[in-house]
């Protein structure tokens, strides 16, 4: 039984290919069903997001599993398997575990430290589990991977500092206003970035939104979208006094907000701070505005600088995460090797042998009147009992080892006979975690 993963991601494949190979829920189901029908494959979990499509599987012969997965995926996507193969990566055993852990910890993501991937893994696993496409190995692997992902998020600061321009802007605003509730944002001009920033501000609790645009119709349209109030462009100076946060992204070739206006507004609002975010190129806001008392101005370059510094910090945290992952991979490998049938049988037999010897020793002390020949008889009987008791489980275990879910027998046997105290405790821990 071998764990393996076949997949493509944003590093290995161009977006055109990723689009084609991307799987929706229905395709995931049919693909899994198809793969499980093949002899070597016993467990399957497909994982598909906008940056990756991966198939995690358990197969008795990994090479056969890889071929099957590649062929099925290519067929589902309607592309040539060779084209897919050129971009696909394949990991088996420990390195497959390592790969999933890294994905779960978002170290393999386009934006290192992003939070969505963990939810996507959970979803993919829950669906596979509901289809009963998983068994002991993938169940344990995915539950662990989700735990690892959570642990990396709590034990490192990988997701703490934002790296996208719009969330950096909101993060900075919150250093001026701890709670955005009760505050007002003024949006000037339209554009993807400023709208994204506005969305972030609203998500962080900003209470009211004023929208202004050179064309009133556009302002009305945007105001409707953000549940805000359109204000006339000509009276900007007046509304500036109401705004705690100003987001600018007009296409104007000159400054839209000048220092003098801000000074006037600042007097009218009794020096309550204003945070200016200037996303426009060329800039909308006179850089001198930053010199106005209690006015803070960040243009696109400033925001990018902060984002870059934050990204560098994430890299540092990623190295800590790597350490955590390596430990967890080792832990998982230890568990997997405990599930091998042969060592388990050896261990079971050793335990039986020890019990037999112990009991014989006791008997020998109590029955001191026995002759050597009688004693040999007793010993032979003890051996016979042990061998007969051990025979059936040994044979069954060897047989089960190659079957789907065969690990279940090994695991049950280990639990029933208390063969590995450590792994049992661990199992209890997992259970109580839910």
């Amino acid at each position: 039984m071998h764990l393996a993963v076949l997949g493509i991601n944003h590093k290995s494949a161009p977006v055109e290919l990723r689009e084609k190979v991307s799987l929706n829920d229905e395709r995931c189901g049919s693909l899994s069903e198809h793969l499980l029908a093949e002899a070597p494959i016993t467990e399957v979990v497909p994982l598909s997001t906008c940056n990756r499509t991966e198939i995690y599987l358990v197969a008795s012969r990994p090479e056969a599993g890889r071929r099957e997965a590649l062929a099925s995926l290519a067929r589902t996507a309607g592309i040539d398997p060779a084209e897919l193969e050129a971009c696909a990566y394949f990991h088996e055993g420990e390195s497959a575990v390592y790969h999933l852990y890294r994905v779960a910890a978002s170290l393999d993501s386009l934006v290192v430290g992003e939070a969505q991937i963990l939810g996507q893994i959970k979803e993919a696993y829950h669906q596979a589990h509901a289809r009963e496409d998983t068994s002991v190995l993938l169940n344990r692997l995915f539950r662990n991977a989700i735990e690892v992902g959570k642990r990396v998020r709590t034990d490192t600061r990988i997701g703490e500092n934002p790296v996208s321009v719009s969330s950096v802007a909101v993060d900075l605003v919150k250093r001026v206003y701890d709670d955005l509730e009760g505050h007002t944002a003024l949006l000037l001009g339209a554009g993807k970035m400023s709208e994204l920033t506005a969305t972030h501000l609203i998500a962080n609790g900003i209470s009211s939104v004023l929208v202004s645009n050179r064309t009133l119709a556009r302002a009305r349209e945007m105001a409707a979208r953000f549940d805000g109030t359109p204000v006339p462009f000509e009276q900007l100076g007046d509304y500036l006094a109401l705004a705690d946060v100003v987001v600018c992204s007009t296409g104007a070739p000159h400054y839209v907000i000048r220092k003098g206006e801000v000074e006037r507004a600042m007097r009218r609002r009794h020096n309550k701070p204003i945070f200016f975010i200037d996303i426009a190129v060329p800039r909308d806001i006179d850089p001198g505005v930053n010199d106005v008392y209690n006015a803070f101005l960040y243009d696109i370059d400033d925001l990018n600088e902060v984002a870059a510094a934050n990204a560098a910090e994430r890299e540092k945290e990623a190295r800590k995460a790597e350490k955590i992952i390596q430990d967890e991979v080792k832990e998982f490998s230890r568990w997997v090797s405990s599930l091998e049938a042969v060592p388990t049988i050896t261990e079971l037999r050793r335990m039986a042998e020890e019990i037999k010897q112990g009991e014989l020793e006791k008997a020998r002390r109590k029955l001191d009147g026995l002759s050597d020949k009688e004693m040999q008889r007793v010993e032979a009987m003890a051996s016979a009992i042990v061998n007969k008791l051990m025979h059936a489980p040994t044979v069954e275990l060897k047989k089960a080892a190659d079957e789907r879910g065969g690990y279940m027998y090994v695991e049950s046997l280990r639990r029933l006979f208390g063969l590995n105290g450590r792994s049992r405790r661990e199992e209890d821990g997992r259970r109580s975690d839910g």
Partner: protein, 353 residues
């Protein structure tokens, strides 16, 4: 009696040690954002403060009057107040990291109290009055609030500086700040080390005579302070240049409000302190106000914080200017409190003249 005095000493030392450890923990919390350090610091601070409370209560018990008769007791009360107000503020505002600023201040003041340690003593007759303990206690608590305003104001200035500069070219500012602090502290420690000859003139005023050797020691102290300031300033500037650092500091509006509230509560307390003091002065000396240096400087402090509130309420000051006033305010408070006592002779000196 002896045993109680011993216990008080031990509790006091425990409080000082816990403030020292907490200073370390809070600074570590600020640098590393290690949540456990912050929580541990808070727990330890509460425990240290309780020990401190017990020490003050014991001092009250053994001396038979409120802890205020000497510099030790009143400084101890000052430090106690700072910690109390920080703990209260922490309940209402997300300012735990400000502990990295406020707790060291409390530690320094409390340990200076330890330097002036004196056992419980009888009050001189002039000091035996009901008004006196109200006067001293309220004055000390108002000082505690001004120290809190200082801490919040100081962090405000740093946070605002970082935000205004967009985290670029900030190292120089930190180097300046730390070098200035290093020089002052180095000079101060150097003057302790120097031990100048003390000469009293005919009026009983003590003058210090600095020999060449003493001046050399003070220069060495300053140079060491400067060097340490340079290194620490560079390291701090390097650290603060990362935008993620200022995310750990409280936001500007919280800092501004904490600083303002502290003064808003401290000012009326100072007013009551001055009024009760003057009632007591009338009883003790038969005069409400005698322009003794302490009284004069108390009035200056009162006017100073009055000006802080005035600029805020009627002129719309807030932010950096107010924060700067709150920071300088503590210097005025410390001069009124210690400088007057130690440098200028008068009715309020704790050491009998």
């Amino acid at each position: 009696m002896e045993a109680l005095v011993r216990t008080e000493e031990i509790l006091f030392i425990a409080a000082v040690i816990s403030y020292l450890v907490c200073s370390g923990l809070f600074i570590w919390y600020l640098i590393s954002r290690n949540q456990a350090a912050g929580r541990l610091g808070m727990v330890l601070l509460v425990m240290g403060w309780l020990a401190h409370t017990a020490a003050l209560a014991l001092r009250w018990q053994t001396s038979g009057h409120a802890p205020m008769a000497n510099l030790y007791a009143s400084l101890s009360l000052f430090g106690w107040g700072i910690v109390l107000f920080f703990l209260i503020t922490d309940r209402f505002y997300p300012v735990k990291v400000a502990g990295a600023m406020v707790v060291p201040v409390a530690f320094i003041i409390t340990s200076v109290a330890g330097v002036f340690y004196e056992g419980p003593q009888e009050l001189m007759p002039a000091l035996q009055s009901y008004w006196l303990w109200i006067h001293v206690t309220i004055a000390m608590l108002s000082y505690g609030l001004f120290a809190l305003a200082f801490g919040a104001g100081f962090i405000y200035i740093i946070q605002e500086y970082l935000l205004k500069k967009q985290y670029q070219n900030v190292i120089l500012g930190f180097v300046f700040l730390f070098v200035a602090l290093g020089l002052v502290i180095g000079l101060w420690l150097g003057s302790w080390w120097a031990e100048p000859a003390r000469v009293a003139d005919e009026l009983g005023r003590v003058d210090k005579i600095y020999a060449g050797e003493d001046i050399l020691k003070m220069v060495i102290g300053s140079i060491i302070g400067l060097a340490v300031g340079l290194i620490l300033g560079y390291a701090a500037g390097k650290g603060a240049a990362r935008p993620s650092f200022s995310k750990r500091l409280p936001s500007l509006d919280v800092l501004d409000e904490v600083s303002y509230r502290a003064v808003a509560f401290g000012f009326p307390m100072l007013t009551i302190g001055i009024i009760t003091g003057s009632i007591w002065a009338d009883q003790a000396w038969g005069s409400w106000w005698s322009w003794d240096p302490k009284e004069t400087w108390s009035l200056i402090t009162w006017l100073y914080y009055g000006a802080y509130l005035h600029t805020r309420l009627t002129m719309g000051w807030r932010g950096r200017h107010s924060a700067l006033l709150a920071v300088i305010g503590l210097v005025v408070v410390l001069f009124t409190y210690l400088g007057v006592n130690l440098l200028l002779p008068g009715l309020h000196s704790y050491t009998p003249t």
